[in-house]
Assembly symmetry: D2
Homo-oligomer: 347 residues x 4
């Protein structure tokens, strides 16, 4: 059994980790920290966990976290990098759901997240936790920086196009028009995500610039080995879970005869959590609700030179907690799908 | 033109007042105060008002409010009673959307609202702003305490039964099972009313006791002139606007042959904002969305001795801002419906 | 492995059965019938099942159903009773999610469902599939009539009060104010349950009389052994899944000192799918979303003589498919919870 | 007073026309036809209209429609063209909310709508009812083909860029990623727009080709006088009303120094129903809910060469019924805003 600790279990990614780990056959939930809710049984805050999780929140207490095999950070940016050094010293692996170990460029991190990075050496060894791209590195990793929810869809959506030896598309005019449910904003008391504000409403936000842009560009360039340029426009959808990314890529004249459907199917044939749907499909976010699956459909409307790639995921599962568990499985030599084969909840 | 001031224009009842008053043919919006947003054009906070409201928020400034004919308080409890004395002295009428002038019993106010009442004399003269019950008193009032959103539905729903010379129903076993959209909780940054918490979800709350209970009991006893007892159970509905109250009353044996449909139609025949629907109707909250109408349907399932009264209103209009404008119309000798004849928005 | 057939797999209870059974460790999905979709892979209609269910719909074909150990009917009323006799003859057990085997009184069935009953003898032997009440009978049953979604909440909510040797409450003035998500209306193309009609809206329906009333009365009288009278008012909530029933019962004078919290806890101490929450709780429907759990909270506001019982369930799980699987587990000697311990999905 | 008839008053655009026209100071509602609901008071079907509309539906009866000054067709495609010739002969103006008079190219109409066009001569004289572009022609029109809901946003969003003497953007690589509430699908009993299907869900549809594409291309080419090419991807948002279109246009090298904010403000300075918001704005669909306003924000993220234009409208008002009333005002010499100055409903 893998002894697992969670730092910050009161947010949406925290409670989702609890949902997944409580039913994971190889996991023993060992500690959940919350400074504010010290002593409160987790199931008192989240009655959905009654009968499944008997732990109580405890104040951060390194001794106990040090006894874990792996610690997940479901915390605001900056917490994981403060605690990671000591955990690593104690032989505990670290999986961060925030941004501390995503951006390899320290200056970029400091610019976009507005804080200095406290452990650049650990950042250097950290592995970007996108198993479909980095599976081998994850196997040996001690520290994982999990991708953001949007970046997971954008990278997995564009990857097959960029991973080829020579460019198939105009790699510097990519567009990602992304739509997310409001749980992506976290469990924070803020007016714009109140039901009375966000329900029966739709809007774009952060058009000027969003933290997930540099992360995605870094990932795409790592895949292609070439310079990539992307315009990313996020939108808020009046639903709880789910991301739908609509990706646009202009096909290069010399690649117009490519069979893109086949290209995608081949690229993901070994990836159990990526489902390339039949040509012509329109994946719905609910088709992955509460599951770790990500679905992709490849379109080329009217035979034009524009590819339209549709990608859906559950932002709290494949976009966060589920991807974390997938990485954990890989790191500990389990089958990648252990504890993650939930049938999506529909309707 | 009536010069109108609004204290506290940044909440839902405030913006709803602005929507109604901006289009009111006899009103000149004169001042809107918000300490926090001093100087910000109202339409910057609420782009829906662009082109309709050119005022900016200003810090509370009595001089200007003193120049108004009437001031609405769309503020937390306690604000109106602090400012009312000076306004009244200056000849300005006061309409409070909060609870400062609802409960006639000072001790009850202090118990349920947890603060001392600063002007009991004004409380004494204040009129409870439910026009269908108190029209004559409202005409002459200087200070109005507007009913809460739930109490409006409960009082107008039970009133025809209680207003008769002798009891028709068991008046001490009334039940009100009420359901409200989340805008009733106000425009406050709180976790339980986030879309990710309240959407696709339903729950009761405040079953032990809710502030709208003593207010409603006071109103019902004023109508009947007899002791009334009521159990009130509020619930939260995943929608923005609307209250649906399902009221239960046990018919007394001697009143079993009463024609309750006729009783209701007669009681409300002069009330333009109360619509007694045909027997057998199931009013929907959307049928009054964004309008000042309240609809009632009278049921007596299976000919039993239990009356089931269904009542719907828009909590922000007939349950708050619209009722305030209705009172203002009456106080200033206008037709009661002036500026209030919006066709409900459906779908 | 239990060989399972499903008749009528294209509705919401059908796809929910598939979700539960696809992950059930002791089940082999053997046949799914749909006359209309003959030959279509189930996962083409419900992409959420891609990778989990490889079966295709087939036209009703008794040979194959006859090879099953148990057949679920997720069909309109009337289908199960037509096919049950032959299946039983072949030694196949039958679990009907519709109403064919709920009402013991044939005349009542024919009145409320508008069709003659084709096999009253089978109706006689059929067991009402509410395990918390009928566990022993279910063990030996060949035919199960599963409770309706509302009746499950009303019966489990009132049962502890009615199951005592002498009456504790006024058993002829019960009230059930119930609220359901729209999936309860089924996967049928009808205008009133369109998103544009039912969203941001709330209404009661069927106040005059609803088919779930006679079924519930029958169940309550079976529990108490005395005459019971109930007023049942259903409402439609703008959410997908979930039922919240608010039950009202008047305590008899001689029972005013009863400890009702203890009474409920004791009654359900052996029932793993009924969670009596701590006194003062307000259960939310999302706390049981996508799980077979039903939660109850007992309230007695202001120490009055009125009990308010709050009950939540997922109408598609404990109110339908999950309860069916629970019965199947019992019928086949498995642990009652096998394949049913899903952690509810929150948020 | 303008005598107005409506053919097909039972759908969403029909009831929205009724909402707007019932309160229009210069309109006398004269006839509403529905073959199926002959004799039923309109307010029985839509209780929101109780007290506002006293008309009953009547079977199509040309005599009465012939007495109108103008007839709106809120019908399926093909109805208006069948009845228009006789109405025009009788001197009645025609405003069609469907597609009969949108596409100038008869062959294109027949290809996309799958029916022959019965009156190509009338099609020739018909005016495309987009007042911000065609105001002068509308003044003199006898027949109006109102734009589709999506095309209104796409044309008004791209128009200022295309209306210049020389190209500023790459006019053959335009992208429109559009998101619509479900009322756009009409009041039709269909499974995909049930609340239980479409709520808490997001998807694209019609990526291969959508009828609004040829209409939009025709409009854009009319504006620019040059060939235009557009990729249009519509999506379904779990909300009732509202369209948010995110438009992408690549700036030509020679136009990189253009002040696009100023360009838009100038282009729309005389248009009261188009609001060019301050630079950096993110318009929300609710900011135009139930109003005829359309709002636009111009973005150029990171100073790149890609313009991102955000456009919102209420699909039932500016995207249908409101635009129809706006055209009627223009055709009858009224101020364009008569009866259309509703303050948007927020929250």
């Amino acid at each position: 059994m893998i002894k697992v600790g969670i730092v910050g279990g009161t947010g949406y990614t925290g409670v989702e980790l609890l949902r997944l780990l409580a039913a994971h056959p190889q996991v023993q939930l060992t500690a959940i920290t919350s400074r504010k809710e010290d002593g409160m049984p987790v199931a008192d805050m989240f009655p959905s966990l009654r009968g499944h999780v008997s732990l109580a929140f405890s104040s951060p207490d390194k001794a106990k976290l040090n006894e874990c095999d792996v610690v997940f950070f479901a915390t605001p940016h900056g917490v994981a990098m403060a605690q990671a050094p000591e955990l690593l010293k104690a032989g505990v692996k670290v999986i961060d759901l925030a941004a501390d170990f995503r951006l390899k460029d320290v200056a970029a991190f400091e610019k976009w997240y507005g804080m200095p990075h406290s452990c650049p050496q650990i950042l250097e060894e950290a592995v970007y936790g996108l198993p479909e791209i980095n599976r081998e590195a994850i196997k040996k990793a001690r520290v994982i920086g999990l991708p953001g929810c949007y970046p997971t869809t954008m990278q997995l959506g564009f990857a097959p196009l960029l991973a080829q030896g020579k460019p198939l598309i105009s790699e510097t005019t990519l567009i990602a028009d992304c739509k997310s449910g409001v749980s992506g904003a976290g469990r924070k008391a803020e007016i714009p995500t109140l039901l009375a504000e966000a329900s029966d409403n739709f809007k774009a936000y952060g058009v000027k610039g969003h933290r997930h842009l540099p992360e995605t560009m870094q990932g795409l360039e790592a895949i292609s080995g070439r310079k990539v340029s992307l315009t990313f426009v996020p939108h808020l959808v009046p639903m709880i879970r789910g991301i739908h990314s609509t990706l646009y890529a202009r096909i290069l004249p010399e690649a117009l005869s490519t069979d893109f459907q086949a290209l995608y199917e081949k690229y993901y044939q070994g990836s159990k959590f990526v489902d390339v749907m039949p040509a012509g499909s329109h994946p719905e976010t609910r088709s992955v609700r509460a599951s770790n699956m990500l679905r992709i459909a490849v379109h080329r409307p009217a035979g034009e030179d524009l590819l339209v790639i549709l990608v859906v995921e559950d932002n709290l599962v494949k976009g966060a907690a589920g991807q974390g568990v997938q990485c954990m499985n890989i790191m500990f030599g389990l089958d990648e799908t252990t504890g993650l084969m939930h049938v999506p909840v529909l309707p």
